[in-house]
Amino acid sequence: MSRSRMFFRVLLRPLIVRRGSSAIAVLAVVVAATAATAMLTLFTDVQAKLRGDFRGYGANLIITSKADATLPADALHKVDAQLGASESAAPFGYVIAKANGQAVVVGGLDVQRTRKIDPFWMVGSWPEHGKALLGSRAAKQFGKGDLSLEFRGKRITVRQAGILLTGSTEDSRIYMPLEDFTAWTGLGADTIEIAADRKPQDVSALVNSLASALPGAYVRPIKQITEAEAKVFGKARSTLLIAVIIIIVISALCVLATLTSSVLDRRKDFAVMKALGASPQLASALFACEATLLGAAGAVLGFCLGIAVAFLIGRLNFQAVVLPQWDVFPMVLVGSIALTILAALIPMALLSQTQPAVILKGE
């Protein structure tokens, strides 16, 4: 029998003969790898999901035209071209007009886009052509009838569609579809609100590129939203990170403890090898190879299970699909193998100082 065949025989046979303890060792690695995979996958994915939740606060960027002008007609196209699928923009135009003889801010809006960007607006029914949406305070002021609006001598009469409640300045305004607004006042949009769903540094980059695409406008982040978002997000992220680290560390310790004692159990095998003439290096290499095999098997199984666990947690908490993060796999694989080798080599180092005879006599 050649040397290498002998090596593999000695390496593989114990795994089969001692099925019980091999299974326990693999199980320990699987548990740790599952925990690590699930936590790392979630941690990567959760950040994107949480950022999505913060978009419920509405726009985080605003583009306004410079004094007494409207934005160029193609401004919205230019903005749309720079936004991703999960991001949205909505144009608004504002004038101060007279409604039934009283000064009021009248706004033009794009119904579909506004609904998307301002989910917190409580609206009875959105205005269609020829109708207007009244802020709750404006509605109290003007009653239920048709409204006659006047701007720079141009008059228009609109029917009321519904009432808008936001608890903020919008409550004092009257909104109508942007096409009606432009047809009546002759003015286009002067404000574009943008809900950008990206990391803070990417938001700053977007501000810069929008500013260079629209030289005639101010582009600025709405600090109230961006700063608070960064703060809350940072805290949530750190809490998660700490919890994830704690879980990974404790599962690693658990693996280390289990494997170390299972290797110690086999001190007799080690002593026999040495008594038969194996060098301590060869014996250690044998145990290290065994550990690598167990570690790799555990990592693969654990990675699959971990993806399943992450998927389950995503379904439960986010009602969304958490996709496998493949770049987690090398980390888990290397971590598991390193852990198992460490668990095998620590007892080996202790044992190699002992005479085989002492171990075999059972003292």
Binding site: G167, E229, C254
Partner: protein, 403 residues
């Protein structure tokens, strides 16, 4: 080693449970950095003429709230949930510096004003309600003739902190340049008393913004309090919903209409529940990991003592006394590990709380029995299989050293 594993496991379990139970409060507190969630305006007010954050309604028009009533906000049922409030009164003025002159809005407010209600003293103002306001220079005192100038206006007027600024014919000093990312950047922001003086409206404010820690809105929160009777009304009144806090503010400030600011208030519940749910699931995962760690440690600890079991049995001990021995040992380990782990976990949680939220996470004493029960459950759960294997060992085989 088993004792160490149990202690460690219990410590991790305690810390994550403590964090999970407290995370809701902590995140609610952090969510206040989104600013005020309740606005208070006079009931009979005329409409705001506010475009792009700049108010152009004349100060002489519309209704007002009485400034003297403000401290009463700290006297409502949910006063401890009020994290801050700031009054506002704005008026159009002419601001002049050297040759440059602009018609701008002067916003009067509190920066950090010392107020009293009954025996309580507290500090209120925009520094509390709007943490995103950034001042280059310094904040003016609330009784000074010093003002903040919005960043864009400061650029237009070419003024910097320390410069003189003439506002409505008065000689004022620029204390700092204000960046807010909104309409205030085109305005002058000064102490409330100064704005009242200039507008000729002593002792009044136009609106109040209130920042309160609230409970996420549910269907019950949206019911009209006027339709509720008896216990249902009490329950609504005594829940810290934004709507019920607004209702209580209307009760103490005459002629006020308080409304939740939906942009801020509506999303809080969603973000809060999301983070809470996530922590709950992570806690369960941490508990499972801790349980497995303890089980593994117990199992190895018992298997290492095979020869001891063999010897005991060879000398005449029966299965039940061997089992009883191990069970008692596991019990002692669980108790010690539980108590030490609980203390360690408390320290860990407090440390995490301080490093992330700058406030300690308090360990509820009520958690102790729960944690101890978990320690017992996990220790016995982990050792039962190993104890059964130990009890079944054949003493002859064990003592000879074969399997």
């Amino acid at each position: 080693m088993a004792a160490v594993a149990i202690t460690l496991g219990v410590a991790v379990a305690t810390a994550t449970i403590a964090i999970a139970t407290d995370i809701g409060d902590k995140v609610s507190e952090e969510l206040r950095s989104f600013g005020a969630n309740i606005s208070v305006v006079p009931q009979e007010d005329t409409l705001d003429l506010n475009v792009g954050g700049v108010n152009i309604k004349p100060a002489s028009e519309g209704a007002y709230l009485n400034e003297a009533e403000l401290p009463k906000i700290k006297g409502i049922f949910w006063r401890n949930n009020i994290r801050g409030f700031a009054p506002f009164l704005s008026t159009s003025v002419q601001a002049r510096s050297g040759a440059e002159s602009r018609n701008v809005e002067l916003i009067g407010t509190y920066f950090a004003k010392q107020l009293r209600y009954g025996k309580d003293e507290f500090v209120e103002g925009v520094t509390k309600t709007s943490p995103w306001w950034k001042v280059q220079g310094e904040w003016p005192a609330d009784d000074s003739q010093r003002v903040l100038v919005g960043a864009r206006l400061a650029q237009g007027l070419n003024v910097k902190p320390g410069d003189a600024l003439t506002v409505a014919g008065r000689q004022l000093t620029v204390a700092g340049v204000l960046r807010t990312g909104a309409g205030e950047e085109d305005a002058v922001v000064g102490p409330l008393t100064l704005a009242q003086d200039i507008a000729g409206k002593p002792g009044v404010v136009r609106s109040i913004l209130v920042s309160a820690v609230t409970k996420p809105e549910d269907a019950f929160a949206r019911t009209d309090p006027r339709t509720l009777k008896g216990p249902a009304y009490d329950r609504w009144y005594c829940s810290p919903y934004a709507l019920s806090i607004a209702h209580q503010i209307e009760e103490v400030i005459p002629n006020a209409h308080a409304e939740q600011i939906r942009r801020v208030a509506q999303n809080e519940g969603k973000v809060l529940n999301r983070i809470k749910g996530l922590m709950l699931l992570i806690t369960i995962a941490a508990l499972c990991a801790a349980a497995l760690a303890v089980s593994a440690a117990m199992a190895t600890a018992i298997m290492e003592r095979r020869t001891e079991v063999g010897l005991m049995k060879a000398m005449g001990a029966d299965n039940s006394s061997v089992a009883a021995l191990f069970m008692t040992e596991a019990g002692v380990l669980a108790t010690i590990g539980g108590v030490v782990g609980f203390a360690l976990g408390g320290v860990l949680a407090a440390q995490i709380g301080r490093s992330i939220f700058n406030s300690s996470i308090s360990l509820q004493p009520v958690l102790f029995p729960i944690v101890l029960a978990v320690a017992f459950l996990v220790t016995y759960g982990g050792s039962i299989a190993s104890i059964r294997r130990a009890v079944r060992l054949d003493p002859a085989h064990v003592l000879r050293g074969s399997q």
